[in-house]
């Protein structure tokens, strides 16, 4: 019983870690010759990957998977809310800056 749980947790951790390492790849493709360049694609994908990680942490580590539907929906709504706020402020800010 415990071992199957632990295996699942380990797989989750591996997924989260590999998603973290994916940032290295994003980072390498975004920059040329060590100078950093602004990029909407990188920004959006960085935020989206982070939010997917947050949702996985919610579902698996924080055991929302087994929680009543209210908490499931609430945490999902929160991920969406955070996404809207972050992407919204990025795009609104960009459009103000021109």
């Amino acid at each position: 019983m415990t071992t199957t749980f632990n295996k699942r947790l380990l797989i989750v951790w591996l997924i989260l870690t590999s998603m973290t390492l994916a940032y290295v790849w994003i980072d390498h493709t975004a920059d040329q010759n060590g100078t950093l360049r602004a990029s909407t694609v990188v920004t959006v994908s960085a935020i989206v990957i982070a939010l997917i990680k947050v949702r996985i942490i919610f579902r698996e580590f924080m055991e929302v998977r087994h929680a009543p539907p209210l908490l499931c929906r609430l945490t999902d709504a929160w991920v969406v809310l955070i996404a809207v706020c972050l992407l919204g402020s990025y795009f609104v800010g960009s459009s103000i800056a021109g």
Partner: protein, 197 residues
């Protein structure tokens, strides 16, 4: 609660739905993440107003340190999740080991964070250097304060696990929920400070 669960046959296949830890802690998690979303939004808006400065300053951050931080915290999240499972199964020895591992990885995170601050300050990037480093030092240090509070919380978890007289599963889960919050806030901070372009 258990009586209720026993009376229903299908419960055996699907474990009963429950909120891990105190529901009160979940209100804190949601409220605190909303607050951080506020800080992040301010950061992203200021960033778009002065993109070149942020990009130049960002070049002084080392992505590898950020990744190391993240993996350390993810490991601590893994161990505290294992701690919760073990303590639920009544395996308190393993739960304690995992709680101490969590503390260990938390300390690793903290030390690597402090070393990174020292490195940045040596490079001449301080809290007052420019707008990017204002946000960098603010977000990392407010998060570190959460880590420090987390050590108090983990202390409570260890205290609960140590004696058979206590061992409140609810408090262990509440502490774990707090610690995971520290973790996922760092996941967001990491993406926003190190990766966003």
């Amino acid at each position: 609660m258990t009586n209720l669960a026993d009376s229903r046959p299908q419960v055996k296949e699907k474990p009963a739905k429950f909120v891990p830890g105190q529901p009160d802690m979940w209100m804190f998690v949601l409220f605190e993440s909303l607050l951080f979303t506020g800080y992040f939004s301010v950061y992203l808006v200021s960033r778009t107003q002065n993109e070149q400065l942020y990009l130049q300053s960002q070049a002084d951050l080392d992505l590898r340190i950020g990744i190391f931080n993240t993996i350390a915290l993810l490991l601590s999240s893994l161990t505290i999740a294992r701690c919760v499972k073990a303590s639920r199964a009544g395996n308190y020895r393993s739960a304690l080991t995992n709680a101490f591992l969590t503390i260990f990885f938390g300390v690793v995170f903290l030390v690597s964070k402090i070393l990174e601050w020292v490195k940045e300050i040596r490079l001449g990037n301080t809290f007052t250097s420019n707008e990017f480093f204002q946000h960098y030092f603010f977000l990392t240090s407010i998060h570190c304060i959460h880590v420090l509070i987390g050590f108090v919380v983990l202390g409570v978890v260890v205290y609960q696990l140590k004696s058979p007289a206590r061992r409140s599963q609810q408090l262990v889960e509440t502490g774990a929920t707090y610690w995971h919050t520290v973790d996922f806030l760092w996941v967001l901070i990491f993406a926003l400070l190190y990766v966003v372009r």
